[in-house]
Amino acid sequence: MDEKTLLSLFDKFEKSSAVEMKYSESGASFELRRKEAFASASPVMAAQAPAPAQAPSVSVSAHEPPHTASPAPHAAAAASGNEYIKSPIVGTFYRAASPDAPPFSEVGKKVTKGQKICIIEAMKMMNALEAEFDCEIVKLLVNNGDMVEFDQPIFEVKPL
């Protein structure tokens, strides 16, 4: 691997919210960890204290990217006042009911409780996800066609 690729990977890791990254390719490998990745190894003083917002360990194999490098830590709170809408199942995220249909949600769009906001397909079943409260879509955290995990944040929204 040349230095440029290496540095760009370091940079990407720096900017992501992942706490751990492993890379291996024939003959070369490295692991990067933020200090948060070691947090769980220190003795816990008060078991009742809320756990620090911690990203799941996301193993990134850079040459094969079919999986999720979760854009936002599962347990983290969104920017002040905002909330995350998380995926209730594992599946494929679609913004619209079909490729030529208009998307259910756009950044800036206001949706009301019960309104469809996206489709998550699993086992060839199209599961419509509905907003649980009135809100404005602030950010889409996954791309159309991406795989989403259980509990993965897919929208950042501002409750209305």
Binding site: S40, P43, S57, P66, H67, H74, V90, M147, E149, F150
Partner: protein, 439 residues
């Protein structure tokens, strides 16, 4: 060879499978529940996907989430591990329907072996003795007496659709038959909506002996020695060893021949175990477990093989590296299961080492033992030239094992390993109950 495999399991067995996959050059996809975010298998796999909440029914048992994940991450095969969906024929069918390889026998074979009555009949057909008993249901004293006398007392009355000890009565003489038939039938009816009962010979303090099998799906069957799993607490195995101190070469040959016939004729593919109850030099077929088992490492030690590797090889259609006709057994191996007595967080872990010692576990310093899943947190396995040396080695190794933060059963295991009856090798499944007061 396949390129990527998903493990539909967690904990120690998931870690075990990942290790072999790494050596075979197969990429691994781990699945996990929200309770297992920081679990070792999640960190070790090439790709990890959160598939559901802590409750197993919504995560590790969720067929839809598992298949979706495997397909979406580009896996070619699913390894079910042990427990969870490992013997679920419907899951195996779904896996195949999705175009994936199932690391296990065909769903039809799982179905067949899962039906106890059919499995017993089939085993008998291939020359394996089954516990003597009534050929069909028994409803009156007049039917029962000749059967019971032919079996020899004590006998046990069992519910045909039963399980878990319900509708079971042990009978010691003719006079007790009538009343116990009535009680068993009433219990069976109340519990299983079916009052049908039958009679079997009741074995007192039998040994639990099982054979490890690897079969290639084309009739090739390798018998990888036996395991003795007689040390059990409420049917949960605690200590396993290979070979069994209670199996003679003649018995081993007879068991192996029957098992070879049975697995060969079923065109069984993958790893499997055939279980027997042993009483003196007699043995009786109990059931087949159509999967790899927790205690497989003792068989790995005495045969010098990686059973998970062989299991994957045969299931993906590669040639197994064992010659079924020349399986050499060497030395003695014993495993002690390390179980958590309560959930918690490991604050300190010291792992034993030295020659002939292996510790398979998902623990690390900082790991969480969740209340949601099985209490087994590790397996300490040793090998040495004979039973006596292996026992000394296991005691030495268990003394080196230090786990803090989570209470475990190390002290109890050490007491069993040092117990004179256990060390004599002359014991049955009643041993734990016999020792319980002193543990």
């Amino acid at each position: 060879m396949i390129k990527r495999l998903m493990i539909a399991n967690r904990g120690e067995i998931a870690v075990r499978i990942i290790r072999t996959c790494k050596e075979l050059g197969i990429e691994t996809v781990a699945v996990y529940s929200t309770a297992d975010r920081d679990a070792l298998h999640v960190r070790m796999a090439d790709i990890s996907v959160c598939i559901g909440p802590a409750k197993s029914a919504l995560s590790y048992l969720s067929v839809g989430a598992l298949i979706t994940t495997a397909v979406r991450t580009g896996c070619e095969a699913i390894h079910p591990g042990v427990g969870f969906l490992s013997e679920n024929a419907d899951f195996a069918r779904e896996v195949k329907k999705a175009g994936l390889i199932w690391i296990g026998p065909d769903p039809e074979v799982i179905d067949m072996l899962g039906d106890k009555v059919v499995a017993r009949k089939t085993a008998q057909q291939y020359g394996l003795p089954i516990t003597p008993g009534s050929p069909g249901p028994i409803s009156t004293k007049e039917e029962a007496i000749p059967v019971a006398r032919a079996c020899g007392y004590p006998v046990i009355i069992k519910a045909a659709s039963g399980g878990g000890g319900k509708g079971m009565r042990i009978v010691w003489k003719d006079e007790e038959l009538e009343e116990n038939l009535r009680i068993a039938s009433t219990e069976a009816l109340a519990n299983f909506a079916d009052g049908t009962v039958f009679i079997e010979k009741y074995l007192q303090n039998p040994r639990h002996v099982e054979l490890q099998v690897i079969a290639d799906g084309k009739g090739g069957v390798a018998i990888m020695g036996e395991r003795d799993c007689s040390v059990q607490k409420n049917h949960q195995k605690l200590i396993e060893e290979s070979p069994s101190p209670g199996v003679t070469p003649a018995m081993r040959k007879k068991m192996s021949d029957g098992a070879k016939n049975l697995f060969g004729s079923l065109k069984y593919c993958g790893a499997g175990t055939i279980e027997f109850l042993v009483s003196g030099e007699e043995f009786f077929f109990m059931e087949v477990n159509a999967r790899i088992q927790v205690e497989h490492p003792v068989s790995e030690f005495v045969t010098g093989t990686d059973l998970i590797r062989e299991q994957i090889l045969v299931c993906v259609g590669e040639k197994m590296s064992i010659d079924p006709d020349h399986v050499a057994l060497s030395g003695w191996s014993i495993e002690a299961r390390i179980n958590a007595l309560a959930p918690g967080k490991v604050t300190r872990l010291e792992v034993p080492g030295g020659p002939g010692v292996r510790f398979d576990s998902f623990l690390y310093s900082g790991a969480t033992v969740s209340p949601h899943y099985d209490s087994m947190v590790g397996k300490l396995i040793v090998w040495d030239v004979d039973r006596h040396h292996a026992l000394d080695r296991l005691i030495r190794a268990i003394d080196e094992l230090k786990i803090e933060g989570v209470p475990v059963n190390i002290a109890t295991q050490r007491k069993i390993l040092s117990n004179a009856i256990f060390r004599s090798g002359q014991f049955g499944t009643g041993l734990y109950a016999q020792l319980e007061a002193t543990l």
